[in-house]
Point group: C2
DNA sequence: GTCGTTGATTACAACGTTGTACTCGTTGAG
DNA sequence: CTCAACGAGTACAACGTTGTAATCAACGAC
């Protein structure tokens, strides 16, 4: 059951424990001859280092936490898969946490209190604000995903939400749409990502000389299908309903399209729809969804690299902002030509 | 940075280290007076036990691994969320692994080799077979999810796939459908779950006296939207295409419905569709999908309980089979009345 | 030939926890 | 009054690893 220990390998190879340790870690120079002998002993005994002992000694566990508001949201599931892959490539493991969007839980995790042995935290905050984070006690290396606020003392990985939103809006404008609704703006304006996207949206409207109708931006609580559906119902009850919707998540778009369908509204002919996230189901929905596709792999790799860098060189280096790419993927929901898959 | 240690608490409370340890763990009787003094010191110093040291000493880490074929598949994401919640309730954490359906990876994880400090493994196997598992070296407690094979030496948590499939099929038969296709049968028949579902399907057909047409059961590789789409295309090319499809996953159903839509086929009028898994997007698809809904929460709780039981009482107890509930949820894709949400 | 110098290896002491075996009063039975 | 039994607490040695400082041979340089 319990595997071989450093001591066993050392005895078999006829060297000291420390030499074996040196060979295993490869940090210290070991004579070629000894190294080979040790490696053979390691192979013969199938030695596996004991992670806990190592952690106890070094203070590193090789585990980083990834905290997302909701793992069942496809965007976060897809992102989590990329983070796991990126971490594995770099030899460490990922502990996934589901905060449920609870601020207290987010804070707890940001402080590294979720599990005592994690080395660092990747957090996708929903409602965490700077004042809460300002005086967090335990200083676990922290990287924030997809949040714009400059005030939080941590590294950020994000895409240029403003530019992406502008591009999406311009696409709708080019189709000739003028009454463009936005679904995904929370009432309290605290969520930096949505503020950026809203900014990009307004910039595009302004540049095209299209007036902005605030009634086309209903308050939205979460980024779920149900919220998208609810917002769409409100919008369709207007005297002059929108001819296009820009949704801040594909799930919102999915809910919105569903309601449009129920009202007999054809997408894209009578209502063009753009989403955000490029989740997989988007490509098979009826109709398939035009969406802003953040480069999730790049986000994951940047984030893992950033947190590992903080962990290994625990300098109080200034906090960085890392920008990943994105792409507007045009599909049926904004195509006037007939469906083609 | 580093928190208080047992030693610090002991000094503050004026007792020995061991007494503090006893209070923390609550296993040994401690006089009420001392206990209070220790508890106060713990609170004052905000003491948090060091997980690694504890693990090193006891051999337990409090971490269990959950390995799924593909985290981005919504069913597994939803299941993972339930497992995380169930584990948290019981005071342990979950390490999620994505096997990518790779048999070697599945074996590695089943042997507990994915990370050295895990106490036990929950594995949702895709292609693992008994011969591989028979002689796994390291004996980590293992619980298999959703697999029927009796031969694998491990506990199983599953639903009655055969009964569920029969029920789904009976539902389609009651709608008057007679040419019912099945999407989700892999060519090699090795995956026990699909064998059970196929069995339930055939039982229902037989009981209703409906002949079985093997051409309506195309080979399917994976449980993805793309595979569902491909299978549907094959089926629609037949001289006498099906009037209903029973898909072994909601994703397959999603792909199939997409293709039906492209061919101008109306669901449910010309093609009734039933899925399996009850993933969330199913409820907002157009049309919404009738599906077999396994009780994911119950599956998660049974599995976590089972693995914890094996960990704590490491008896070589006989392997158990635990059955969770399911439910057939009828939605638009098999409803002849007009859509109502 | 002696003496630093270098490079490879080792002994030893941590890291923070828990199990075992022990001490030390206190209590109750004979 | 003596002694066993008991309850509460403690000292010490692990668990397997790594950092530090020491050791030791080999090797040129003077």
């Amino acid at each position: 059951m319990a595997g071989a220990r450093l001591k066993d390998v050392a005895e078999r190879a006829g060297v000291s424990i420390k030499t074996v340790s040196n060979v295993v870690r490869g940090e210290v120079r070991v004579a070629e001859q000894t190294r080979e002998r040790v490696l053979r002993a390691i192979a013969e005994l199938d030695y596996q280092p004991n992670a806990s002992a190592r952690h106890l000694r070094t203070g590193r566990s090789g585990i980083i936490a990834l905290a997302v508001p909701e793992l069942v949201a496809p965007y976060f599931a897809e992102l989590a898969a990329e983070v796991i892959a990126a971490a594995k490539k770099r030899g460490c493991t990922v502990l996934i946490e589901d905060t449920g969007g609870d601020p207290a839980e987010e804070l707890r995790i940001a402080c590294g209190l979720s599990d005592p042995l994690i080395d660092g935290v990747l957090l996708s905050p929903l409602c965490l604000d700077e004042t809460m984070l300002a005086n967090r006690e335990r200083r676990v290396p922290l990287v924030l995903l997809g949040e714009q606020s400059y005030k939080i003392p941590a590294d950020h990985v994000l895409i240029d939400n403003s530019a992406a939103a502008r591009e999406a809006t311009e696409h709708l404008l080019q189709l000739g749409r003028r009454r463009i609704a936005v679904i995904g703006q929370p009432s309290d304006r605290s969520h930096a990502t949505t503020v950026q996207r809203m900014h990009g949206f307004l910039t595009a409207l302004h540049a095209a000389g299209v007036p902005h109708d605030p009634r086309l931006v209903p308050d939205t609580r979460e980024f779920t299908r149900a919220d998208g559906a609810a917002a769409m119902r409100v919008m369709l009850a207007l005297d002059d309903p929108p001819d296009a919707v820009f949704c801040f998540s594909d799930l919102l778009a999915s809910g919105a399209m569903r309601v449009a369908h129920e009202h007999g509204l054809r997408v894209p002919q009578e209502l063009a729809v753009v989403g955000f996230d490029d989740i997989q189901e988007t490509r098979y929905s009826v109709p398939s969804l035009t969406t802003v596709s953040p480069d999730k792999r790049e986000i994951a790799e940047l984030a893992v690299d950033a947190v590992l860098h903080r962990i290994t060189t625990d300098a109080e280096a200034p906090h960085t902002r890392l920008t990943a790419g994105y792409e507007l993927v045009v599909r049926e929901s904004t195509r006037t030509s007939p469906p083609t898959a």
